[in-house]
Amino acid sequence: MPFKVLIIDDEPHILIMVANRLRANGYETATALSGARGLEFALRSKPDLILLDSVMPEMPGEEVLYRIRQDGELRGIPVIMLTADVKKTAVSEFRLRGAKEVVFKPFTPEELLQTVRKVLGPAG
């Protein structure tokens, strides 16, 4: 069974790009355009990993992360934050809030895949 990765980002093009890349490397993917939908999907289908955009309207990534960490069923799912933040402290701040890793935009395919592999291990 391939690993199932949920990508949450309000930018549809990012969703398509990231999903393409992950599928080409053997991961199964699902996408959500908002934090609320992402949470709904996560509860329904329990992905192995969540990639989460930090800046989204309505429910920002930080709140989604908080809810994942508070939810008994979702708590164990690792989260990788995707962010355009340039602050050096961004990594430690997101980790403190419960993210496993942080990938900075714009990322290269290597950065994205390496981080996903680091968290999940190789696909399949």
């Binding site: 930018e11 093009h13 990012i14 790009m17 990231v18 393409n20 890349r21 080409a24 800046v55 355009a84 933040d85 340039v86 050096k88 402290t89 430690s92 701040e93 403190l96 935009k105 714009p106 990322f107 290269t108 395919p109």
Partner: protein, 495 residues
């Protein structure tokens, strides 16, 4: 010009500032009684608060202060009346038409007629500056998100085509796509540099100075460039006066500067070497990056630190620069109160010299405490400090050797930084002491942290050198109540 209202006797430079300042300054000046009744105001006050003809003696000073600042203002006045020296204040004022004016300034007590007390408040209107700062912060934040998101899509899309995820690619197509990706990466670097410049110029960059070994950093940086240099057939050299040259600097910022200088040197050198030389001078540490490259001509040399200056750009493809690197380096070095200068001879080579002042640990500890206090004051929290120091340091140094003690203290610093849990908590070492800053921490909680850290420290010392004889003394102080204690602690360690 004297324009004293006879009702208020003179004190010092005069209650209203003297020399016609009261009439002509852009600052807002108000005189009021301890119960808050306005006694006199200056023309700027009337203009800004839109009360040209009001009989101000019918007004309470609180009627022009925003309600949310009433308590703070009342407290400042009470402090001044209790005989304290002038108090700084930051308040929002409200004009006749309900416009909000952000102001900062001071309240002080001036002599009153026949023993009555008169308070004077001088305020500077900073509304525009505040708005501008906010706009700039917002701009920087928006740019980073709004530019990076589409850039991510473009970069990843191109990379997917190049990598053949979407079908076969001919060698010629791949070549074009590689060029596109290089340009996108350059665009990304320009955005980063622009954000850096913007943050540096708006004073948003604060240094975190810690004790760093410059020789070690230089070695790391040269190692990172080894691949690029050997591709070009250039030799990389390090000439350090000592294996350990310790200076208080912001490690990340210094790495950024040195990486930029070495990168430039390699870029413009095709034969010969690039060298970092390090030495200690009286009160300064010197770091020089020299190359045997093509050099920069005299007229260009004076302008290399300006923004968007690029020289000697080769025709054709390659790694393009942003023209911002050296101006960022200059600003970063100036933040360290250091100097950067450049010498160059066309066709012979270039050398950039960085001079960094050496600070004593005491100065650095004070600086860290002052910065942390400023942040706490803005957010209204308390700051706690933990200080560890080695008991009878001179004896320990003699028995173990200075280098060995330094290594142990450096390891302790790392251990502490790794075990502090919040991003704002930080440990800074010198040769014999360690300062730990805990913002937003009350004294009782600081003692809990101390208990945990002290246990770690004892375990560490027992493991690393059980017979070292090192004994650690610990102290805790919390601001504002123990402000004096900090001086006492620093005196005990350093005098």
């Amino acid at each position: 010009m004297t324009n004293e209202n006879p009702q208020y006797p003179q004190s010092g430079s005069g209650p209203k500032g003297g020399d016609g300042l009261f009439e002509n300054t852009h600052d807002l000046i108000q005189l009021f009684s301890p119960d808050g009744i306005l006694l006199d105001v200056n023309p700027s006050w009337r203009r800004v608060l839109e009360r040209p003809d009001d009989d101000i003696t019918q007004l309470s000073v609180f009627s022009v202060v925003h309600p949310r600042d009433h308590d703070g203002f009342r407290k400042a006045v009470a402090d001044v009346l209790k005989g304290q020296s002038p108090r700084k204040i930051g308040i929002t004022m409200v004009s006749q038409s309900n416009r909000e004016i952000i102001a900062e300034g001071s309240v002080d007590l001036i002599g009153g007629h026949q023993g009555s007390k008169v308070l004077r408040c001088i305020l500077h209107d900073i509304t525009k500056r505040r708005k501008y700062d906010e706009l700039k912060d917002e701009f920087v934040g928006t740019i980073s998100h709004e530019l990076r998101t589409p850039l991510t899509v473009v970069r990843e899309g191109m990379a997917q085509i190049r990598d053949g995820l979407l079908g076969g690619v001919t060698p010629a197509q791949r070549e074009v796509l590689d060029m596109v990706l290089q340009s996108i990466d350059r665009l990304g670097r320009i955005i980063n540099d622009l954000l850096d410049v913007s943050k540096l110029e708006s004073g948003q960059v604060h240094l975190k100075r810690t004790l760093c070994n410059m020789t070690g950093i230089a070695r790391e940086i040269l190692a990172n460039f080894e691949g690029l240099a050997s591709q070009k057939g250039i030799e990389l050299r390090l000439e350090a006066a000592s294996d350990v040259i310790e200076v208080y600097l912001d490690r990340d910022k210094f790495i950024q500067v040195l990486t930029n200088l070495v990168g430039n040197a390699i870029k413009f050198t095709s034969v010969g070497y690039v060298r970092i030389s390090l030495r200690e001078l009286e009160g300064f540490a010197e770091c020089k990056v020299s190359d045997t490259g093509r050099g920069i001509s005299g007229e260009d040399l004076s302008r290399v630190f300006e923004k968007f200056r690029q020289f000697g750009r080769a025709v054709g493809p390659g790694i393009g620069g942003t023209g911002l690197g050296l101006s960022i380096c200059k600003k970063l070095i100036e933040l360290h109160h250091g100097k950067i200068s450049i010498d160059s001879y066309p066709l012979k080579g270039t050398s950039v010299t960085v001079l960094l002042p050496k600070y004593t640990s005491r100065e650095i500890f004070r600086e860290h405490i002052a910065q942390a206090l400023n942040r706490c004051a803005e957010e209204g929290g308390t700051l706690s400090l933990i200080i560890f120091d080695i008991v009878d340091f001179e004896t320990v140094k003699r028995t173990l050797g200075e280098g060995h003690v330094r290594e142990i203290v450096a390891k302790i610093e790392k251990l502490m930084n790794d075990s502090l849990r919040r991003a704002a908590d930080v440990a800074i070492r010198d040769t014999k002491a360690l300062l730990i800053l805990l913002p937003d921490t009350k004294k009782e909680n600081a003692f809990i942290v101390l208990g945990r850290l002290y246990q770690l420290l004892e375990e560490f010392l027992a493991r690393i050198s059980p017979d070292s004889g090192i004994e650690i003394h610990s102290s805790v102080a919390t601001f504002p109540e123990d402000a004096r204690t900090v001086d006492d602690i620093l005196n005990r360690i350093y005098d």
